[in-house]
């Protein structure tokens, strides 16, 4: 072996030089090739041991000298050593030195001659090999996998240290020579045998297998079996690399389980079923592990049974209904504390004092429990793992229990949400049942899809007559048309619309208000309310208001009688005088026909004038419906000034009207607006009855103002006591000796009915000003009531 190796080395090495050492003189012949190997010319190195010896690496010099001495002294048959030499360029060269001595007759050594071979390259590859081997060794020793070497019969001849650990083996001797296939559980043996056979054929075999470790722990493995070949490529051994995938499989299984449980939750399975399934799935993850879910009652302190398919019934019953608390076993305490509780031995742990007996009967010895939380971190219950022997939880189990508690939380929360939803649905149903409103669901085109009515018999037509039909086929054309337009507006604007309409049923007419809103994107919901009573009350109120306004006008005309009598007496005087003059003219011979004609013209003119006064009176006194239409307030003011002319003149007042030309029309009832202006004018007249005649100035003006037209009536009268400014519009509040005190009250009621406002203020220089704001008409005439 030694010789073989030296030979191999010599041949592998490149260059060889000879040397001959005279032991007596110390002179040494060194082959110039040797010197050249170290970067020197022949003459640069003296052929003497002192010089040549200096080129030996200092760390090796002693060993070289001792090895040489040993041979010289006859202790070794040869001189041979691998040592380092110093190259001229500072690098180091490895040499294999070999030699032997020639001895004198007395046996003393005379010469030693030999060879030096440069083995630097060899040394380098040796080092590389050594490093590679070291690496392999380290890989084998530090890998997390189980490495096994099998002989060609498939028997175990080597297991790495990690493999022993993974298999819970104390000593390799326990398994040496055991057949590899026999390690596997029945189900995996076939696959293992095939993988071995594949590797024996020189290929790579692979399988997943299940087995138990020496301590019976179940483990899943991902196994690759590869052939080990010699230099000729012949399979000499097999290498099996088994990776422990138990965790991965468990996680995968847990994933599948989670999906299964989440699926149940999503499809609305009952909570006990979901929790039971969850417990079953978790129990599958470890041998001998039993699980339970407990729920915390809504009162926050009572334990309720959740799911524990594998725990003894007695135990389940013993726990159900107990309070949580600081010593409530593992679960009761976990729920109480809101943190995980681990009890490694139920027999000794103080937390279990109250439950120890029943746990003992049920064969339970270790238990860890973790609280189940809602998303708001409210404790909903607990998830527990039990074992029949004292033990501490593995990390994987703690991960598992947290994950299981999470899923239980989702299930409980989902069930509670579902329950709450059902309750709120029930509540909605109750509200719907209680609502007097009708609801109609229609397509955007107006086809009735669904409806809600507390009493369907009160519907205009029975459901069978409108469901699936278009509004136009169900409702009278004007109503259907109005609804269709409202539907179209809702569709485009997505804003709710309100529509009022009437439907005649039997012999009565009923009023309805429909609020139409978009629904589900492509439908419309119409909430219809019978507003007949409200409408009648409104109409009654309008009628009352009209009656009051009318009374106000009558009363006002009473005050105006003097002036009105004058207005009428003027044309009548002219008519009478002209008529009498005409009689005289007729009596003349010949009758003065020309003058007679002029006279009759005057009669006609005056009669018309009287008629106009009567028309105005009649208009004021008439008791008609309010007709809201665009009214030019300037015209109203002019008409009133005209009408009140007599009264104003009689009271020796001057009226100035400053009417802004082209004020926008206001929406109103002409007669009622005349009443407002007339009331304000008469009110001003009354206020100035004690004012000096020269100062009796009444100013009327109109101006447009941001969507309103403002009417201002200003007098120079006594003004209004500051404390009464707010009260002047109240009925029966008057500062006039001859008023009922209804004028301004009626004025305000009219203005308010016109959606306007009126206020009174005192002028800085005496007198009062009334400002009345009326909204500009921007819609066509609306008939408020029939």
């Amino acid at each position: 072996m030694q010789t073989d190796d030296s030979y191999r080395r010599a041949t592998a090495a490149g260059r060889v030089g000879v040397w001959d050492w005279d032991l007596a003189s110390g002179e040494i012949y060194v082959d110039p090739i040797l010197k050249e190997m170290l970067g020197y010319q022949d003459h640069e190195i003296r052929n003497h041991l002192d010089d040549w010896g200096r080129l030996v690496h200092p760390d090796d010099a002693t060993a070289v000298f001792e090895r040489a001495q040993a041979h010289i002294n006859g202790k070794t048959p040869h001189y041979e050593i691998e040592h380092r030499m110093l190259h001229r360029d500072g690098s180091i060269r490895w040499f294999l030195a070999r030699g032997s001595v020639t001895r004198n007759a007395d046996g003393t050594a005379a010469h030693m001659a030999g060879t030096d071979t440069d083995i630097t390259e060899l040394k380098r590859s040796e080092e590389a090999l050594r490093q590679a081997e070291e690496l392999n060794r380290r890989i084998v020793e530090s890998t997390g996998d189980c490495l096994q070497i099998l002989d060609l019969d498939g028997r175990l001849i080597y297991v790495n240290r990690e493999g022993l650990r993974l298999l819970d083996l104390a000593d390799f001797a326990d398994v040496v020579n055991r057949p590899f296939v026999g390690f596997w559980e029945e189900a995996a043996r076939q696959a293992a045998a095939e993988a071995v056979a594949t590797a024996q054929r020189g290929e790579c075999g692979r399988f997943h297998g299940f087995t138990r470790t020496a301590s019976r722990a179940p483990k899943w493995w991902d196994v690759v079996v590869t052939p080990i070949t010699d230099v000729t490529g012949k399979v000499v051994q097999l290498l099996s690399v088994s990776r422990d995938i138990t965790e991965r499989r468990r996680e995968e299984a847990l994933h599948v389980a989670q999906h299964q449980v989440l699926g149940m939750i999503a499809t609305g399975s009952a909570l006990p079923d979901v929790l039971g399934c969850l417990v079953g799935l978790v129990e599958q993850q470890a041998d001998g592990m039993l699980c339970s879910v407990l729920l915390l009652d809504g009162d926050g302190r009572t334990i309720r049974h959740g799911a524990a398919p594998s725990l003894p019934d007695d135990y389940v019953r013993a726990v159900d209904g107990m309070p949580i608390g600081p010593r409530g076993g593992s679960c009761g305490t976990a729920m109480f504390r809101g943190t995980r509780v681990v009890v490694t031995d139920i027999f000794t742990d103080p937390l279990w004092e109250d439950y120890r007996a029943v746990a003992r009967q049920s064969g339970l010895r270790a238990c860890w429990s973790t609280p189940i939380f809602s998303p708001e971190r409210k404790v909903l219950g607990s998830f527990a793992m039990y074992y029949s022997e004292p033990r501490t939880p593995r990390a994987a189990e703690l991960r598992l229990i947290e994950s299981a508690a999470n899923m239980a939380g989702i299930a409980i929360e989902q069930q509670r949400a579902h329950h709450a939803l059902r309750q709120s649905e029930a509540r909605n149903q109750a509200i719907l049942r209680a609502l007097p409103d009708w609801m109609f669901l229609t397509s955007v085109e107006g086809v009735f899809l669904d409806f809600h009515a507390r009493d369907p018999s009160r519907l205009h037509v029975p459901p069978s007559a409108f469901l699936g039909k278009h509004i136009k086929d169900v409702l009278p054309p004007p109503v259907a048309e109005m609804l269709a337009q409202a539907f179209a507006r809702v569709r485009t604007s997505d804003e709710p619309e309100k529509v009022e309409y009437t439907l005649a049923s039997d012999d009565t007419e009923r009023f309805y208000e429909a609020c139409i809103v978009g629904c589900d994107g492509d439908k419309l919901l119409s909430i219809v309310r019978d507003i007949t009573d409200r409408k009648r009350a409104e109409l009654e109120a309008i009628a009352q208001q009209m009656e009051l306004a009318h009374l106000g006008r009558v009363a006002m005309l009473g005050e105006l009688t003097g002036a009105l009598a004058h207005e009428l007496s003027q044309p009548l005087t002219a008519v009478l005088s002209n008529a009498q003059a005409a009689r005289h003219l007729l009596d003349r011979e010949p009758p003065d026909v020309a003058e007679l004609r002029l006279t009759l013209e005057d009669v006609i003119k005056s009669s018309r004038r009287a008629g106009a006064v009567i028309d105005r009176l009649r208009a004021l006194l008439r008791k008609e419906d309010i007709v809201l239409q665009p009214v030019n307030l300037n015209e109203v003011v002019r008409e009133v000034v005209d009408l009140a002319h007599g009264e104003v003149a009689a009271r020796r007042m001057t009226v100035t009207s400053t009417l802004t030309p082209e004020v926008p029309p206001v929406l109103g009832d002409r007669v009622q607006l005349q009443q407002v202006v007339l009331n304000l004018v008469l009110n001003a007249c009354d206020a100035m009855s004690e004012t000096q005649a020269a100062k009796r100035q009444l100013a009327l003006s109109t101006e447009a103002e941001d969507g309103f037209v403002q009417l201002v009536v200003s007098d120079r009268g006594v003004g209004i006591p500051q404390s009464q400014l707010e009260r002047v519009f109240e009925p029966f509040v008057t500062f006039r000796p001859q008023g009922l005190g209804l004028g301004l009250a009626i004025t305000r009621s009219i203005v308010t009915a016109h959606r306007g406002s009126i206020r009174a203020e005192n002028n800085g220089d005496g007198g009062a000003t009334f400002r009345c704001m009326l909204p500009v008409a921007n819609a066509p005439a609306i008939k408020q009531a029939d």
């Binding site: 009548l572 005087t573 002209n578």
Partner: protein
């Protein structure tokens, strides 16, 4: 006889003037007290509306009463307003309420002239 008629209402003014002319009298017409006073004309009787812009018929009558000889005045009124009515009643002047007929007017004119004569004679005394 020459009458003056003061009334702010043109229709009334024209009709009265026509009537009085038909009855055979001369007529002068004025729209206000101020207009009448501005033209100091001599008339036998003044027919004046109580309600006038500016000075009223009553005021005009007061001013004319102080003239020598006094001018007879007939007040005509179409007003039933209590204040106006009371005022004309209080002064005890011949007055007629519109509308009136020709005889009533002429009677009132006669009364006024008779009253003025009495006053004139009393002054002359």
């Amino acid at each position: 006889m020459t009458l003056a008629i003061v009334d702010d209402d043109e229709g009334v003014r024209r009709a009265l003037a026509r009537l009085v002319r038909c009855l055979g009298h001369e007529v002068l017409i004025f729209a206000s007290a101020e207009e009448f006073e501005a033209q100091s004309v001599a008339v036998d009787c003044l027919v004046v509306d109580v309600r006038l812009p500016g000075a009223s018929g009553l005021e005009l009558r007061e001013r004319l009463r102080s003239r020598v000889p006094p001018v007879p005045v007939v007040l005509i009124t179409g007003d039933t307003h209590p204040k106006t009515r009371d005022a004309s009643r209080a002064i005890d002047a011949p007055s007629v309420a519109k509308p009136f007929d020709d005889l009533t007017l002429m009677a009132a004119i006669a009364d006024a002239m008779a009253q003025a004569d009495v006053v004139g004679e009393r002054r002359a005394d």
